[in-house]
Amino acid sequence: MARQNVLGVYADADSAAAGARSLRAAGFTGEDYEVLTGNPYPEGAFGDHPKRNKLFVFPIAGGLTGFSLALLFTAGTQAAFPLVTGGKPILAIPAMMIIMYEMSLLFAMIFTVMGVIFESRLPRFSGAGPVYDPRITLGYIGLLATVEEERIPAARQALQDGGAADVVGETTTA
């Protein structure tokens, strides 16, 4: 079923909370709307339920990748070019550990950043997306209801009732 977006823009946190309450009063649940803010707000301030994320997988995968690459690199180069220096063993484990440590962390960090971008559902190079209002970065709070086509007027009304400064947007999404 086609779902559509409607965005109510609120001037401050109190009116946004009122908007959220009136959305709930109109029978919408936390699944039906999303908050857009210009800065982080305390969790659950407008009734949203943060979904669990899988971010922790990324640094672990990155760390393991880095560790294996470093093991390959350190052990491989020493074995491929077996010259004795300073009477040290060809596989000089303490020296290898230093490089394996660094590369594990390097890849863990790179993967974490990739994970954050991926889990944030980014990147989208074309702009902020279909329904958006630049006032959000001016401190306004947006409540974006994504509901079935026939409930759009109800959502629009609920947003309006909460005291929205403006209600914008009505674009079809898949």
């Binding site: 210009g38 305390p42 994320n53 922790f56 180069t77 010259l83 230093i98 390097l106 702009g127």
Partner: protein, 463 residues
């Protein structure tokens, strides 16, 4: 504690983004002096590469000189960014907000500057790729991973990459602000780099987790980088370098000089970019208190290093200590070092009124960095000049004009890069300021208003 200013979001946007949105004369004026220094440095480096190391003061046995000292110094300064942003993020210190990004950016630029030094210090800089990259697959020639000089680039690359990613990811919400309110090419470019940021709870949540997670990941790198730099010296058999305490001693010294450099930077930012509403006396106060602890820890490690050089009563170490303490010019350097890096600033900082006086904090933080630069000189040069009994040629390393110019230019380079950065990116994270405004609360106890914040446990969400 003074009343925290109440700022609205548009006001924060205007006050923090003006250097990006417009070009003011003071911005250009601030750019000129470091730029001139960099020009001088370019000339000196050209002479150096053209003429070879003959133009330096290096000799036998002091094969390493100003470049290495300055390298260690800038690597040290780079430790401020992570120290400030990671530790304060992990401990959720509220006062971190305006200074994290500037500190992280300083990390990036001082690392870049530091990296320049070992390259031009090498005899054949154009062949340095041999040393850095395992690229020569066909002939099977590889770098020797047993060498600390291979650990160095690996560690520094890790740290540099991590710091750049850290800064960049935290910049995305600010790019979105510029995208929304700029016009023309700015709108287009910042729209592209903002990656489509919308500000959904999920995105903010991940941004928060990212700060914590990345801090936890980059802190071990931070400790390892300067440890590895210290092992360049410590794993050798030069008696006064072969000291087990070098790793933590270098790290804590790095933090000492780096955090002091952050103080310097905070004062300059406040003056150049008119950030009075964001960087307060409170921040100087808090950084000052932190520095007292750091400096005292540094003093403890200094004491360990110093006392153990007498412990074994070996001739060579005593000779090095004698040179450090009694021979010109090291006697004067030692005195200046101890005075400027501890004896003068710390008692001053004990005083709350001093900590809240920005001009005084600016000058004392510069004193610390003079002292910490000299500390690196004090640690590295006398030891190599008197390293073993069979030296036979006792020399005194005298840096040449070319070396000194490059050292000066390195300061210009970091300054220039920072000012250029400020032209294109906000130096104070605007979204974190707004977050601070949202989260601030007060608790009424009797007649007193106690500052308070809304607390969330971000780490729980991280794992």
């Amino acid at each position: 504690m003074r009343n925290r200013p109440v700022l609205t979001a548009p006001q924060i946007n205007d006050e923090l983004l003006w250097p990006v949105m417009t070009l003011e004369r003071r911005h250009v004026l601030a750019f000129i002096p470091p730029f001139l220094l960099v020009l001088a440095g370019v000339v000196a480096t050209t002479v150096l590469v053209w003429q070879g190391l003959w133009v330096t003061g290096l000799q036998r046995p002091a094969f390493w000189g100003f470049f290495i000292v300055n390298f260690v110094f800038w690597i040290g300064v780079s430790h401020a960014g992570t120290m400030i942003s990671s530790i304060l993020r992990l401990t959720q210190a509220e006062w971190k907000r305006p200074i994290t990004r500037a500190a992280e950016v300083m990390t990036v630029f001082s690392l870049v500057t530091a990296l320049m030094h070992p390259v031009i210090h090498a005899g054949r800089p154009w062949r340095i790729l041999y040393w850095l990259l395992p690229y020569d697959f066909f002939r099977g020639i590889w770098p020797d991973i047993r060498s600390p000089l291979v650990w160095d680039p690996v560690a520094i690359t890790t740290y540099l990459t991590g710091s750049i990613l850290f800064v960049f990811t935290a910049l995305i919400p600010d790019f979105a602000i510029i995208r929304d309110h700029a016009t023309g090419w700015r709108r287009k470019i910042y729209g592209w780099v903002a990656l489509g940021w919308r500000g959904t709870p999920r995105q903010w949540q991940l941004q928060g987790i990212f700060g914590i997670l990345m801090s936890a990941l980059i802190l071990p790198v931070f400790v390892s980088v300067h440890s590895i730099v210290s092992w360049d010296f410590a794993v050798s058999v030069v008696p006064a370098w072969h000291v087990t305490v070098y790793a933590p001693y270098f790290v804590i010294g790095a933090v000492h000089s780096g955090v002091s450099m952050v103080l310097t930077l905070m004062a300059l930012m406040r003056w150049i970019f008119r950030l009075e509403n964001y960087i307060w006396e409170d921040h100087f106060d808090a950084v000052g208190r932190l520095l007292i602890v750091i400096a005292t820890l540094w003093l403890f490690f200094f004491f360990l290093d110093f006392s153990f050089s007498f412990f074994t009563r070996e001739e060579q170490e005593l000779a090095v200590m004698e040179r450090r303490l009694f021979q010109w010019p090291f006697n004067v350097i030692t005195i200046i070092m101890v005075l400027t890096s501890y004896v003068i600033p710390i008692p001053l900082w004990m005083n709350r009124r001093v900590r809240r006086n920005i001009a005084l904090m600016f000058w004392t933080s510069i004193l610390v960095n003079i002292g910490m630069w000299l500390e690196r000189f004090f640690l590295i040069i006398p030891a190599i000049e008197r390293k073993q009994q069979l030296t036979f040629l006792w020399s005194n390393y005298v840096p040449s004009l070319v070396e000194s110019t490059i050292v000066l230019a390195s300061f210009g380079m970091v300054g220039m890069l920072l000012i250029l950065f400020a032209k294109f990116f906000p130096l104070v994270p605007a979204w974190e300021q707004k977050e601070g405004q949202t989260f601030r609360q007060t608790i009424q106890i009797g007649d007193a208003q106690v500052d308070a914040v809304i607390r969330e446990s971000e780490e729980e969400r991280a794992w």
